[in-house]
Symmetry: C2
Subunit: 339 residues, 2 copies
């Protein structure tokens, strides 16, 4: 039913529409792409494509625009990921190599992605669940207040104040710190609750109260941070393509502030650098109709830590965007593995 030429026509329609943002007609199509047939023939093919639901006309006397289904087919079968230009590769390296700490890596990444794709970029912090504990620090602020700092292998730092009912001296803190680290250092964060299950009971009787308070705060902080953090950048790119639809930008801006929504959008991280493309309603969030999301998991080695991606109009340059997202994800993984 869809022979090769029809697919060529669909590909040409998607490419033209993406670059001009105007319905494309049969005549323009044969002029811009050397299809080797006449407009009339193309019209027949277009009728077939419309029949199949791949393209549609906004109104009777207009050209065609791709539908969601059309974009899907394009992404799945008609496009090849466009290799990045050397300049772009260089930009990625230069941008990320100077990063100082994890916060900096994330901030730079989001900026880089937004710049490369000229769209809205979303980067998730390395998931706590999938990280492991590098070190647990316990600082005595005053006699009855400790600062608990958790440092992961990805450089993430979580800190929390522990209020104690009783006073505690420096030596006790040092000892407790050592015993805690012996238990959890280099364990997966998700394993920490198990590792500490009987920790308090095994403590010397005189330090049980303190240990119990510390462990409680630690476990609590792990639960609270479950809602992993994301950073958004390039929101101003929204207006580039939304000038025509001023009512569509508001819900998108709202969505960008709902980090929970964004995390769902990026999707479950699978294997590192594996690309996911969600087109239009596929990402099932009211207010994000008409937008597409290209995301990839990143990680060090074979372990996926979290995801990053970009959000743009359905009429986006999929091959280019996919290449950029994939390259950045790969590079971030490398940076994190090094540190």
């Amino acid at each position: 039913m869809l022979d090769d030429r029809k697919l060529d026509v669909l590909r040409a329609i998607v490419q033209d529409f993406v670059s001009t943002n105007e319905p494309v007609g049969s005549k323009a199509l044969v002029e811009r792409h050397h299809l080797g047939v006449s407009p009339a023939t193309v019209r027949n093919d277009m009728a077939a494509l419309e029949e199949g639901g791949y393209i549609a006309q906004p109104h009777t006397s207009a050209g065609r625009i791709p539908t969601e289904k059309g974009y899907r087919l394009f992404v799945d079968r008609l496009s090849t990921i466009k290799p990045l230009s050397p300049a772009e590769r260089r930009a990625i390296e230069q941008f990320l190599d100077g990063a100082l700490d994890l916060d900096d890596v994330v901030r730079r990444t989001v900026r880089l992605l937004a710049q490369l794709t000229r769209q809205v970029a979303v980067v998730q912090y390395p998931s706590l669940d999938r990280s492991s504990v590098r070190h647990l620090e316990l600082v005595r602020l005053t006699g009855s207040r400790l600062l608990l700092v958790l440092i992961t292998d990805t450089g993430r730092v979580e800190q929390r104040v522990v209020e104690l009912a009783t006073e505690v001296d420096e030596d006790a803190v040092t000892a407790l710190r050592a015993r805690l680290n012996a238990r959890v250092a280099s364990a997966l964060v998700i394993e920490v609750p198990n590792q500490l299950a009987d920790f308090v009971d095994q403590e010397p009787i005189e330090s049980r109260a303190v240990a119990s308070a510390v462990v409680a705060v630690l476990l609590e902080s792990l639960v609270e941070r479950r809602d992993d953090r994301v950073v958004v950048g390039g929101a101003s790119n929204l207006t580039r393509f939304a000038l025509d639809f001023p009512d569509t930008v508001h819900p998108v801006l709202e969505a960008l502030e709902e980090h929970v929504v964004l995390i769902k959008l990026l999707g479950e991280a699978t294997r590192p650098t594996e690309l996911t493309v969600r087109i239009g309603d596929e990402n099932a969030y009211e207010g994000l109709r008409g937008t597409s999301v290209v995301s990839a998991a990143y990680g060090s080695g074979s372990r996926a830590l979290a995801s990053l991606g970009v959000l743009g109009p359905m009429r986006m340059d999929y091959p280019g965007t996919m290449a950029a997202v994939s390259a950045v994800a790969r590079y971030v993984g490398r940076i994190l593995a090094e540190s």
Copy 2:
């Protein structure tokens, strides 16, 4: 030249225009505000106000809208800060009391401000320069890598990895940590470079190399963080008032991503809770024409730590916004003083 009634008229014009976003005419004015005079009289007053540059007509056959100068006069002399409703006070308390750590305080604050004012909120992190050192932590990651963690009295945490040329053992790290803290603990951050000026020289000869590396990274991190951090929220509120001017939202979104610009916008922190209002071109940044900024410094006690504020259209509810910003600044200061 501007008698009381003319000022009343100006006040009425500002109030009406702010709430309706439409040029206000003489007739509507006498109907909605009981000015006790006829439209014709008001027209004369309006002519005088226009003469003085306080109001203008967008086109000949339209009502008047306030100019920048008009808003300025309104803010300076014609408005009283609207007290917050009990519901709003309660919202502030509930919102901020549950905060876990500094990041959380900042995130909650920005969200709260955006919600209260229905505008774009900007909150600056407590300035490093104005904080003091609570503790300096040195963690031995491997033999040749240390993690340096700086914790300030406002709960801010900065961390950085120190790469060493030689191996170092746990005891040496402990000793160095103790000596470092003896020097800088509870000093103002801005004093740290002075405090450490001769630190390396006074170290035992065998630990000089390590001390020098650590101090170098510490000083460097203080310089780099000079560009203090800000957090933005409520960007979706932009579209509420920018529907009519779709071309004005793009530059504003861009400005929101330029944190340096935002920091300038908030202005130099003066005394805590002191309000600043910048109207239109007063904040002198291309692309922010037509917007106003209401900001306040916050701090604990009499020490200003940083600023927060909101950004909105020139036609904003100044009394309400000023009340909200001021109340939030006061409350944030209190929260930080407690922790």
